[in-house]
């Protein structure tokens, strides 16, 4: 990996040490407040909206996202913003306005527990177990990616990096629980923005601003066989799949990314929803995703635009900019952000940039571990192993202990998963595929459950299983063009070839969602509703008293914020149409 390695100086290490001292210090300061399981696993439902909101967006802004999206900026240009403006904002607004009142108001402590209250035990069990396994594997993969990066870029020992980062994460989550994870996500948000800002400014300065970059892109993009402004527009060339590098038409983007994938991810993933559930009041819980949406809309300028600049630099003689090659002529775009750090940053701010990346890796792990220990303690241990007793004080102590042990267990299994990932290179692709297969049916089921009181437990359970099965089948029967391994699909036989992997993912999710919704509706009509209207109060839209106008100043109301978010999103979309 000669293309992107560098040495750090004392000033870079000092920046890094100051940051991690604060990370552990926050955990230490919170230690004395961790008196029961509620404080440890739910942050005592005490977070102000802005803290929960920034943590909400920070959980999603992991290092794999930063590295992946910068790479996508080089590969697809501004079309990558579809993952933000259409692929996140509408779902976040929907979660805030229509779903948070039920998640928060139901007093459920997790998404699986909402399923238990709304449907039945088996639906909760299925979701809790799948979620626990997936989350811990995801945490392990995040660790693996971090250690491999430190080995290749900084020349640190792989095993030492793995154990050291696991120890830091364990340290602050064990001490301060969810509060510690959330506070550190806020800290991470600021360090990422401040750490990456110099790169955006410097590469714009270097290429002569947006106009200069656009001009230099013309020959590069034309050589790839696309219209000259394809990399600087978003919807203009989505009329046909062949005219844009994503290989998807506008309706595929709209339905697959804008609806199924994004709603599945933002509205049902407990890792994300947990941040909003920790908010201090119902209004704060509704505002959490909206406050997160405000910075989310501008993150493309921080990570996608430098990616596009990297494509120009890559083709510019004398720029000295290179990316590691997978095979001659095929670059490893995952290293784009690292290569840009190397290109522009001198000692000092370089340490800041590297710290920002390390911070996002670790908070990714901490987020996963803190979601895992909640689901484990409440939805698995408390439900199936040791139910609550009449002695509340003893219970509080016991479940706090279990939550802490789950944190240690989670970190140890993550390390094991990281070694598994180092043995099988494809496990990362594999897991991302499985994740998208679980989320889409889950969204169908929760959506129907929240807005249609007739939805039954048997129907929901079968709907989840059916959606997952169809997703697996679709993945087994289709392949993206040029796929080298069976992990990418086609492991049964090849009925259809998609032009790119993205298109296959979109359609897998669309099939899974539709099947799940259809089966759930049909079975709900055929089976008997066991829950009475009273049971469902606070869980279903039509049976819950309307909140009316929130009793806060007009500018703090969720509806005002939602309108603001949608307006800014629309303006950005039109500006970069």
């Amino acid at each position: 990996m000669t293309g992107a390695s560098f040495t750090l100086s004392w000033i870079d290490y000092t920046v890094m040490i100051v940051y991690f001292a604060f990370v552990l210090g926050i955990g230490w300061a919170l230690k004395r407040y961790m008196k029961d399981a509620n404080a440890f696993l739910e942050a005592g439902r005490s977070m102000p909206a802005w803290v929960a909101g920034l943590a909400f967006i920070s959980t999603n802004l992991g290092a794999l996202e930063v590295m992946g999206m910068t790479g996508s900026g080089a590969k697809y240009g501004m079309l990558t913003t579809h993952f933000y403006w259409v692929g996140a904002i509408p779902a976040m607004v929907f979660l805030a306005l229509f779903m948070m009142p039920f998640y928060y108001g139901s007093k459920a402590r997790s998404v699986p527990e909402y399923l238990k209250l709304r449907f039945d035990e088996k639906t909760r069990g299925l979701n809790a177990i799948l979620f626990a396994v997936m989350t811990i594997l995801a945490s392990g993969i995040s660790m693996y990616a971090l250690a491999i990066l430190m080995e290749r870029v900084l020349g640190w020992n792989f095993h030492l990096s793995l154990v050291l980062s696991a120890a830091i994460v364990l340290g602050y989550t064990y001490l301060g629980g969810l509060s510690s994870a959330i506070y550190n996500e806020v800290l991470q948000f600021f360090i990422i923005v401040i750490g990456l800002l110099p790169i955006v400014i410097l590469c714009m300065q270097d290429l002569g601003g947006w106009a200069g970059m656009k001009e230099q892109l013309v020959p590069i993009v034309s050589a790839k066989g696309f219209a000259p402004d394809t990399w600087t527009t978003t919807w203009k060339y989505t009329g046909s799949a062949a005219a844009n590098p994503l290989g998807v038409e506008w309706y595929g983007i709209f339905a697959g990314l804008g609806f199924v994938l994004s709603f599945g991810y933002w509205c049902t993933n407990f890792l994300i929803v947990q941040r909003a559930m920790s908010a201090e009041s119902p209004t704060a819980a509704r505002n959490t995703p909206l406050i997160g949406a405000l910075p989310k809309m501008f993150i493309p300028f921080l990570i996608i635009v430098p990616g596009i600049a990297a494509l120009v630099l890559l083709n510019k003689h004398g720029s000295g900019f290179t990316l590691p090659e997978i095979s001659p002529g095929h670059y490893n775009y995952d290293y784009t952000i690292i290569a840009l750090l190397k290109q522009y940053l001198p000692a000092g701010v370089l340490g800041l940039g590297i710290t920002a990346l390390l911070a996002s890796f670790m908070s990714g792990m901490a987020g996963n571990v803190s979601a895992f220990n909640t689901v484990w303690t409440y939805d698995i241990y408390q439900s199936y192993i040791r139910p609550v007793t009449s002695d509340k004080a003893a219970d509080d102590k016991h479940y706090l202990f279990v939550g802490r042990m789950a944190t240690i267990f989670g970190v140890i299994v993550s390390i094991a998963a990281a070694y598994l990932a180092s043995l099988f290179g494809n496990i990362m692709d594999f897991l991302q595929t499985i994740f998208s297969m679980i989320n889409a049916p889950l969204f169908a089921v929760i959506f129907l459950g929240m807005f249609w009181k007739r939805t039954t437990g048997h129907a929901a359970f079968t709907g989840l299983l059916a959606g997952f099965t169809i997703a697996l089948l679709h993945h087994g029967l289709t392949v993206p063009a040029g796929a080298a391994t069976l992990v990418k699909g086609g492991w049964i036989c090849n009925l259809h070839t998609y032009p790119v992997e993205m298109a296959q993912n979109f359609w897998t999710a669309i099939f899974a969602f539709s099947t799940s919704a259809l089966i759930t509706v049909v079975l709900s009509v055929l089976t008997k509703q066991k829950k009475s209207d009273d049971d469902l109060r606070g869980l279903v839209y039509s049976l819950t008293p309307k909140l009316g106008v929130e009793q806060v100043a007009w500018y703090r109301r969720s509806t005002t914020l939602a309108i603001l978010v949608l307006a800014i999103g629309t303006i950005l979309t039109i500006l970069f149409w």
């Binding site: 100051v18 940051y19 919170l30 942050a43 005592g44 506070y183 401040i194 522009y344």
Partner: protein, 70 residues
């Protein structure tokens, strides 16, 4: 819960800001060091920016402490 996060955020960015500002001043005019950053002293500018941000956060932390414990 328990602590006001504005305080550690403010303190950390004030410390990092001071660190980079001083480093930027010490290395002022070092053409070799700032060659990658197009001759711009990014340490000084980032340091000053972080210092301002850190102090603003500290100010807000101090403000909300004042209103909570009159």
């Amino acid at each position: 819960m328990g602590i006001d996060i504005k305080f550690p955020i403010g303190l950390m960015f004030t410390i990092l800001g001071l660190l980079l500002t001083v480093f930027g001043l010490v290395t002022y005019g070092d053409a070799q060091l700032y060659k990658p950053s197009l001759g711009i002293n990014v340490n000084l500018w980032s340091g000053l920016g972080m210092l301002v941000f850190g102090l603003i956060m500290l100010f807000f932390a101090w403000q909300s402490k004042k209103t909570k414990t009159p």
